[in-house]
Structure formats: C-alpha cells, structure tokens
C-alpha cells in the first residue's frame, strides 16, 4: 500500500480556530433578517383529553404575529411510526408536549402571550412504568395506533402500548438450560437520562409565500432524514423543502428527528413570509426534546461447570415515552446484540418498546448498548463468580473471535475484542491488589476493580454520497452531508480528501451543509460517518484525481498511469522534476475559474433483511465496534460514595485516521459514561413530571469528578472501511457503567442492580449485606 501522508496522523482539528475566537455560528446564534420569535405553551398534564383551547387573549396581545394550535397545523410526523403531531391534537400524552405556539415581535412578548392561552383538560390514567404500560390490559396511550403508518420492519406487540416487539430465536433455550450445570436469573434497571448537549435546541423556519417552499435552519444531525419526515408530514415534494445546517453545539443523538422544527414550521405558515426563530431554554430542552430510554432487563443464563455458556434468555422493556421516535429501532438494534459478544448456542430475546406518559425517548449515543451491557456484563461477572473463575478469563474463554457465527447468524470478521480485553485489563494492573499512594486515606475504604466489554453494530444498510471540487488555485471544497457535531468529522474527512488528492490539508474546505447543494447522506448517527462518508469522500477524491490526471497527461506528455501526485502537484513517477501544480493543470485546461468535480457514493449492501420472526441476518451491520473498559474504584463504606481512581478504555477502531481525535472521542465518551454510572438520573415522578430539569439538579460530570483516564486504541482493520477504519463515536460510554458496577461489586462484595450507583444505593447494598451476614 502507498505510504499514507496525512491519514493516521494526529492532525489539529480544522474547526478549532473559529471556535476559540467565538466566530463560529451555531443554531442558537443564528439571526435572520426580519425574523419573529416563537414561544410554546407546553402541556402540564401527562395524559389528558383537550376539551377546549382558547387563544383569543393571546391573539389580541400587542406585538403578537401568529398563534397556532393543533387545528392550524394538522400534520403528523414520525420516523418509523407516524404518531407525533406538530402540536397536540385532541389529547396530550406527556408533560412538556407542545400544545400551542405564539410568534411575536420579540421573545418576551411571545412568552407573555403564550401564558394567556387557556386550555381545559380531562385527565386520563398515567403510565410511568414501562412494565405496567406493557400489560395487555393497559389503557392505550395511542387509541388509533393500528391506523398509524409504520415502516415495514415494525412488528407491534399484542399489548396496546407495545409499539415494537423484537424477537431473536436461536436454538432452543429451554433445552440449553436443561443441559446447563448452573442457571442464573437476574433483573437490572437503567433510568432515564438526558443528552444535555451544551447548546439547547432551536430551529428557524420560513415559508416563501410566492413559491410555498419551506426553508429550515437547524442544527439537525440528520438533515436529509428530517427533510424526508417533514415532506411526508406536509405531503409536499422534497424539492420544495430545504434544510440548512448552522453549527451544532453537541447532540449525542438528541438533535436528529424533529424536535423544535415542527413548531417553527407550524408558525412560519402564519407569519406572511417572515422567518420564525424558536429557541428552547434549558428547562424546555430537558422536558420537551428527547431523553434516553429507560430500560428494565431480565437476563437468565445457563452454563457448564467449566464456564462454557449454553443458553441465554433476555426480556427487555425499553421505556419509549409518549411517542415512538427512535425507540423501535433502539429496541431492535439494542436487543439484537443484547446477550453480549459471546458464543452461546441457545438464545432467546424479547425486546419491547413501550409507550409511556413520559418525555419522548429515543436515540442516545450507544443506541441501546449501554443498557443491555449494564445487565449482561454484570451478569457475566456473577456467572464467573459462581464457578470461582476470573472475570477476564471467563470472557476470554467465551467472547467472539474471527470466524465465529454470531447467535443472529452472521459470520464475524475483524474482531478486535480479545485485544481490547487484555489491553484494558493490563492498564489497570488486572489481577493485582489496588495500590494506594503512600499517605492516602485507606481507613473505611474498600477497593475494587472491574471490567466490561461490548460489541456494537452500526445502522445498516445506509448510503453516503459526496462531492469534491478542486479549483484552479489548487483549493478543494468537500461536499459531504455529515454534520460536525463536535466529533471531528470535518477534520477526518479533510484528511481523507487531502490524502487522496495529495493536497495540503490547509487547502481543504468543508462546504456548509445545505440540502439544496450537498449530496445525500443517511445521517450523522450510529458511528457510521468515518466508514460510510469516509468511503464516499475517498471515492469522490479519487474520481477528481483521475480527471485531473487525464487533463495533465497531454500537458506532461505521459500516460495517466505514469503520473503520480504529491504536495499539490502531479508529476512523472520516474521524472519527478516533470511536475505541474494541480491548480495549474485545471487553469490551463479550463481557465482561471475552472473546477474539476469528483463524485462518489457508498452503500453498504445487505443481501437479506433481518428476519422479523427470528432476528437473524447474515449481515446485520456494515461493521462492528468492540471495546473493553476497566475501572479501579474506592468505596467509602460509611457514606456509600464511590470514587473512581483510574479508568482504562480500549477501543477497536479498525484504523485510527486521527489518533488524537480518537483519544478525544474515547475520553469524552468515558466521561459521559462515568456520569451515567455514578449520578445522572432524570427524575420523573408518578404524575409524569420531570423533577430536576436544570443543571443545578441534573448532575453532569465536572472537571473535578473524573479519574485518570487511559484511552487505548486497538486497530483490527475492517477490509471495507476507508484505510481499514470502523467507527468510534458511540462505544465510549457503552461498557462504562457495567465496568464501574463490577468494580463496586468487587469492592463491597455485593451487587447493585440499578443505576445510577448513587451513594445511597451503594450504602443500602452494604447495609443489606451486613444484615444478611449477621443473620
């Protein structure tokens, strides 16, 4: 293989400069000429019929431009199930559901007017527990569910609130349990948490009165999918809808789909062409955008005395909140690999995505894996304990390796899992007692170590397309629909373009994302971009390079095959002094304003779709990501407080296109995982009300809360990935809570089954153990 010049190097982020100077314009910063300001009236009831809405006072309030309710915006949207009105229609299903909206000359006026809208409700039974909501005799939260339009892979359950029932059937689990020497059954839970991206949600929209075209400015992580969803809802051709992406201040899964967009669009139809800005404040972002699915996981395993796994059955309830959003696909893609990266002959999984009267739940970095890993990986430690086996050795005995056929029927390759296990374990001196610095407090502290591993699929099949434009000054514009959400894609894709064109990275420019000008991309989700868009940009750059070579060939009096590229020049391989600058080639052929464009598209093809009865697929994912994280912890027995001393995180990325960025992604994911393990919990009471919708009460990790973090990059190349790359964005937080949970159990000698691992919970576990021992 040709030597790589910029791929594989820790290149400085291409977007850092505009961000450290404050010049970068985010969605929340955007100002449009002549715009009006929208505010929303949110439902105070979790489940109720709307008897009456009176907007009269709001309409008459000075400065108000428009007032809209569900009657004025009779549209329904939804990605896999079309169930969500732009504004509540006839009933509300969670506290925080948008009921009406006002546009006015400024935000204060809009807010004051929104408060004047009167709504009369008739309350209905409220479901906050997904297991209760999933019962066959539960009252339907969506009465007309059967008539909703659904994607063809959706398989609703028999109970009225189960919007998706995923089934995996391999072998015969009952026989597997009979063949086992040891059978263990447990229940684990994961509460609701929130993405809490630092930039709150917002959207701007404008409807052109002359053409009817709708333009939406929003920091959405999947503008082409959002465009499709708006087009379906409005019944309007896609050509008349345009999404423009300002910069996004973090998303982590919360900014795909439609959140504030429908409200901005509903208002924009009533402002006579004036653009509308709708910004959610932090509290509104907490209650009315998206949260991570809560989950209840039942897991039962059977194994031989020597630790060979024979059977595993899982039942997983994914609390979906009031509307389906991405819960059905979280359920499918989270439940499928739920039993973990292990060779198990008999497997049965039932995953249920369940409507509740809580904030809408859906995609969050990790897409289900953190929840199943919390259960599966602690369960794995308990199994190892049953036979007195070291948890690392137990995993090394049972985990997938190259050539294994997974329990969903796919032959696996490029499995870097074992290497992540050994490296993560090594980094915390696995097997050795925790060493404490001389002089540190040890009295009353219990020390422990734990680790956990995961395998994560990516959304498949999907497509990414890209264009590359080279001009006569030798500068390059990359047209890619991947959204820079902070993960560093603009740097990675610039490196890919620079590598193939051999043009310095300083001359590569990432074009702004505008669906009118940029080729299609499925989404910036699922850790898919480096692989899919990396392949597309690479192909587009090669296409442009070939065209430039064809132009240069007569100029240099050589065949195309005799030419090579380096340092922004094209030259004769055997006579490097015979060279022309790439820009000069284009200028000579096409003039000073001439450009050469390359295009390419990459689709991961799947021969056979997921079988809806068995969950089997011969290619469930374009690639799989593997990771192991390991934790060293000190638990204060008196207070129950767990303090992390060190965490290692070994991630198989295929090929690190930018090792510095990989380390940054791992550290960031790890920090988020630590927060979700130790203190994050969006508390929702029995009435469905969020009790802590602020950063004062919802505890994100601060700079003081983190241990020493050791990111480790493992490179087990993926043949179809660009330069061997897989993905990395999501797994950073996926095994974290389970690794910490295992360390806590190692320290205190008793298991905690529910997240977060709060001091209270750990304290109670210690007390219960003491009671048991005393008895």
């Amino acid at each position: 293989m040709e030597q790589l010049t910029v791929v594989g190097k820790p290149v400085t982020r291409v977007d850092a400069l505009e961000k450290v100077t404050g010049e970068a314009v985010y969605g929340y910063d955007l100002v449009l000429p002549d715009m009006v300001y929208g505010k929303v009236l949110f439902s105070p009831k979790a489940h109720a019929k709307i008897k009456r809405i009176d907007t009269e006072k709001a309409r008459k309030f000075p400065g108000v431009v428009a007032v809209v309710t569900g009657k004025d915006a009779p549209w329904i949207h939804g990605e896999s199930i079309r169930d969500k009105p732009f504004l509540a229609q006839d009933k509300v299903r969670y506290i925080g559901e948008p009921v009406a909206a006002v546009a006015a000359i400024d935000e204060d006026t809009a807010q004051a007017a929104a408060r004047l809208i009167e709504v009369e409700y008739e309350e209905l039974p409220v479901y906050v527990d997904p297991e209760a909501a999933a019962r066959p005799d539960a009252v339907a939260i969506h009465e007309n569910f059967a008539s909703y339009r659904k994607m063809n892979f959706i398989t609703p359950g028999a109970a009225p609130n189960v919007c998706e029932h995923f089934k995996l059937r391999t072998g015969d689990v009952e026989q597997g349990f009979r063949e086992s020497d040891i059978v263990l059954e447990e229940r684990y839970t994961v509460p609701t948490i929130q993405h809490a991206a630092m930039e709150p949600h917002s959207a701007h929209a404008q409807v052109d009165p002359a053409t009817g075209c709708v333009t939406i400015w929003v920091a959405n992580d999947a503008p082409f999918r959002a465009l499709h969803e708006i087009s379906e809802a409005l019944g309007m051709p896609k050509e008349k809808i345009r999404f423009i992406n300002p910069l996004q201040g973090g998303g982590f899964g919360s900014k795909g789909g439609l959140k504030v967009e429908p409200i901005a669009v509903a208002l924009a139809y009533h402002t006579k062409g004036r653009p509308v800005r709708v910004k959610f404040n932090r509290e509104e972002t907490f209650i009315s955008t998206l949260v991570r699915n809560e989950a209840v996981v039942y897991i039962k395993s059977g194994m031989k005395k020597d630790g060979t796994l024979r059977a595993r059955a899982m039942t997983i309830y994914w609390g979906g909140g009031a509307y389906a959003e991405k819960s059905p696909t979280v359920c499918i893609r989270g439940s499928l690999p739920g039993p973990g990266p292990y060779r198990i002959p008999h497997v049965k999984v039932d995953g249920y995505a369940v409507y509740t009267n809580k904030p809408v739940s859906g995609s969050f970095r990790g897409y289900g894996i953190p929840k199943v890993a919390w259960a599966c990986e602690q369960h794995t430690d308990e199994l190892a304990k049953k036979i007195g086996m070291d948890p690392l050795a137990f995993r090394l005995k049972n985990v997938f390796v190259d050539g294994d056929v997974s329990y969903w029927g796919e032959e696996l390759h490029s499995v870097g899992l074992k290497e992540t296990l050994t490296k993560a374990a090594e980094a915390i001196e696995w097997g050795k007692k925790v060493e404490v610095l001389p002089g540190s407090r040890v009295k009353g502290l219990k020390f422990g170590k734990g680790l956990a591993c995961i395998q994560k699929p990516t959304r498949s099949p999907t497509t990414s397309s890209a264009g590359v434009i080279v001009n006569a000054r030798g500068e390059v514009a990359v047209l890619a629909g991947t959204v820079e959400i902070g993960q560093g894609c603009n740097t990675i894709l610039s490196q890919v373009a620079a590598e193939e064109l051999k043009i310095p990275i300083e001359k590569i420019h990432m074009a702004q994302l505008d669906t009118d000008a940029i080729p299609f991309d499925a989404s910036t989700t699922s850790s898919r971009s480096t692989y899919h868009m990396g392949n597309a940009v690479r192909g587009a750059a090669i296409d442009a390079r070939d065209k430039i070579a064809a132009m240069a060939s007569p100029m240099l009096e050589a065949k195309k095959e005799e030419l090579a590229f380096a340092d922004g020049k094209v030259f004769l391989k055997n006579q490097p002094q015979m060279a022309l600058a790439v820009g000069d080639v284009i200028r000579r052929k096409l003039g000073a304003e001439g450009t050469v464009r390359g295009d390419a598209s990459y689709t991961y093809e799947i021969a056979k779709d997921l079988d809806l009865e068995t969950g089997h697929s011969d290619h469930a994912s374009a690639f799989y990501m593997y990771a192991t994280q390991a934790a060293v912890i000190a638990v204060d027995e008196e207070t129950g407080r767990a303090r992390l001393l060190r965490m290692s995180a070994a991630h198989d990325v295929g090929k690190a296109i930018n090792p510095a960025n990989c380390a940054a992604q791992i550290e960031g994911g790890l920090a988020m995982g630590i927060g979700s393990a130790l203190h994050e919990h969006l508390v929702i009471d029995e009435q469905g009300k969020v009790r802590n919708p602020s950063f004062l009460d919802y505890h994100l990790v601060t700079a003081l809360d983190l241990p020493e973090m050791v990111p480790i990059i493992v490179e087990c190349a993926e043949p179809e990935g660009p330069y061997g790359a897989k993905g990395l964005g999501e797994p950073g937080l996926a095994p974290t809570p389970a690794a910490i949970g295992n360390a806590v159990a190692d320290a205190i000698g008793v298991r905690v089954y529910d997240l977060p691992l709060s001091p209270e919970r750990i304290f109670r576990a210690i007390q219960q153990k003491k009671k048991k021992t005393a008895a």
Partner: protein, 162 residues
C-alpha cells in the same frame, strides 16, 4: 425602564441605552451582536456565558445591564492579543481542548481569569477553577492540559520579557 450606561467592551468605550432588566448575556448577544458568548442554561449553572467583568469571571446570564455603568467587560471576541491568539486559545487549538466548541468561550474566559490570578496552577487548582464550566464532549482531560500548556507559555513569555 431604560437606562443610559457607558461600558468599556473589549477595550472600547461604548454608550448604550438599555432596559435595566436586560441580562448582560442578552445585551451582548441580541443587542450588540456578539454571539461568541454562549447561552447554555440561562440560570448560572453551566458557565458557557462566562465573561470578565472588571477582570473577574462572571456568568453573564446573572448580571443585569442596569448595574453595568462604568464596567469593564471582556468577552471571547476581545481575548486575542492584537491579531494573535491568546496563549489559552492557542493551547486549546493545539491540545484538542475543543470539540463541539459550545462551552469553549466560557472555558477560555475562565482559564484566562485563573491564569491572571495564578500563573502556575496545579492540576487540582485548574480543575477546581473550571468546575463551574460544564463540557459534555471532552471529558475535560485535554482542556486541563491546554490550561497547563498555556500557563507554561505565559510564564515563559513573562520571564523572557523580564
């Protein structure tokens, strides 16, 4: 109620006629058009809107404009030293202290305030100083390193100048 105030904003005297209840954050972003200062929560809990008020770091979402007559305010737009990046800006770029960038302005202003007061902070002191500035992307490791590197650079400059 409006009030006439005169402030020094990023080194320039500026006369303003502002509603007294207008928050400094909104004054900067909506009325003056300096959107480099970010709004993360509006309730003083995240630090994204940190600016320097008379040399001290404050959450600009907690300051009323009516109180500002005679104040000296520095925002992210005034952090550069002439055309050059301030060493904290340079270090955030070099060390990868920036991901989505939404917390970055606040982090930089808080870091500058720390280094103005304590030119040689320990890692613990840096983490303590930044503990009111939330970041959801980085896990803070690269940010802390950037502040350490900026401190070293500033000390080197001072000793060269001395």
């Amino acid at each position: 109620m409006n009030k006439k105030i005169c402030i020094t904003l990023n080194g320039k005297k500026t006369d303003l006629d502002v509603p007294t209840h207008r928050l400094l954050l909104d004054l900067l972003r909506d009325e003056i058009g300096l959107t480099g200062t970010k709004e993360g929560c509006g309730t003083g809990d995240c630090g994204a809107c940190t600016v320097l008020l008379n040399g001290k770091p404050v959450n600009s979402c907690l300051i009323f404009s009516g109180e500002l007559d005679g104040a000296d305010i520095v925002t992210i737009e005034g952090l550069k030293i002439g055309p050059e990046l301030h060493p904290v800006q340079q270090a955030f770029v070099q060390d990868g202290g920036v991901q989505c960038g939404y917390c970055t302005s606040g982090m930089l202003m808080m870091s500058k305030a720390l280094l103005d007061e304590n030119p040689d902070p320990s890692e613990e002191e840096i983490r303590f100083a930044l503990s009111g500035n939330l970041c959801r992307c980085t896990g803070y490791a690269k940010i802390v390193k950037a502040v350490q590197d900026a401190a070293a650079e500033l000390r080197a400059r001072r000793s060269n100048a001395g």
